[in-house]
Symmetry: C2
Subunit: 212 residues, 2 copies
């Protein structure tokens, strides 16, 4: 028996290199009821990207119209480009009883809190040590020492915000961290206020007793 | 790596026969970090019971002293007997990073909310149907038809209170219900504000970055 429910907005945030992306991928890979939030962006599409999968690529003019019309749940400017989460798709997904995973930083999280707190469950991932964080950043091999140093400085700032999240996981072992996120999602799904048909289900049980 | 945490008060409530006891036992059996709350009572010890295991058996005078001194988190009178949850043991267990499972009704839950809300996670178990609930009550075979009818009427009242609980589970399949409760407990354990040493852990990570 499954009772209709409103979906969960699952936010996973972490300093760069702490394992957020690996954890998110593993959760998505084994759970058919959650999908990744697709942002809109004004930056040009790269050859490897697919419109509607990696981002919805839109014009600056369209972005500004959406922002002015209150259609964006959160937005950010990174270098010269604009990024945002459009409201309509999120609302439609939640109402349909499916969950959405957000891979955003603390600034995005704080913006979402303002508009969607009751729908959100947030998780902050920390590395077990800076030695380990640095090793992970170096293993990526895509960044030079300057970039790694900058990422570590950013990590320092991002970490400052752990208390703004519902849950905190120290990612020492990927498998265990994924298991913890799965538990957090499972628990959120059984939250009473999300079970949209529970009221009528209980009334029906009570009527069954009355008619005995 | 495990970081010190404050324990969770896990409350499992349900109408009689919905499966609360089976679920609680299964959770306790596989998890070394949670223990059952042991109530004090003024009722006489039965031959099958062990003092300190099933209940702490105390006198009416001692009960009233504890109540007057604010040592009880919740209490109830059932027929002529008094039952209560003493505060000291709960506080000690939580401070030691262990969880406590409470098998209480909605009146006990409401009393605990008044004093311990930040420490609590509450779960309400419902039967999939009244036919199934009745069958379970009849299978117990210990009660006559009158008692079963009374239990069903009580179930009707208890059900009214599902919205006062954090989580609601329809117990159709014991295994799956146990899994859901385990997830709820696991999620509660990673709640940021329960992780008592997280502040110093994060400060330590930041210091590691500063000293690079």
């Amino acid at each position: 028996m499954s009772i209709a429910r409103r979906g969960v907005m699952l936010v996973i945030a972490s300093p760069s290199g702490a394992g957020k992306t690996s954890i998110s991928r593993a959760v998505m890979a084994t759970d058919p009821d959650i999908e990744l939030s697709v942002s809109v962006t004004t930056r040009p599409k790269r050859p490897s990207e697919v419109d509607g999968v990696h981002y919805h690529f839109i014009s600056v003019k369209e972005f500004e119209r959406m922002r002015a019309d209150g259609e964006l749940l959160e937005w950010a400017q990174v270098h010269d480009n604009l990024y945002a989460t459009p409201r309509a798709r999120v609302e439609q997904t939640l109402a349909g009883g499916r969950d959405i995973l957000f891979d955003i930083d603390y600034q995005g999280t704080l913006q979402l809190y303002e508009k969607c707190r009751p729908d959100m469950v947030t998780v902050f991932i920390l590395p077990p040590s800076i030695k380990e964080l640095r090793a992970r950043l170096e293993r990526r091999a895509e960044d030079g020492p300057d970039t790694i140093r900058r990422r570590l400085k950013n990590a320092r700032i991002e970490m400052e915000h752990w208390q703004e999240y519902d849950h905190v996981i120290i990612n020492e072992d990927l498998e265990r961290s994924v298991e913890k996120v799965r538990s957090i999602l499972s628990a959120a799904r059984s939250t009473g206020r999300r079970l949209t048909q529970m009221q009528s289900f209980v009334r029906d049980l009570q009527n069954q007793i009355d008619s005995l």
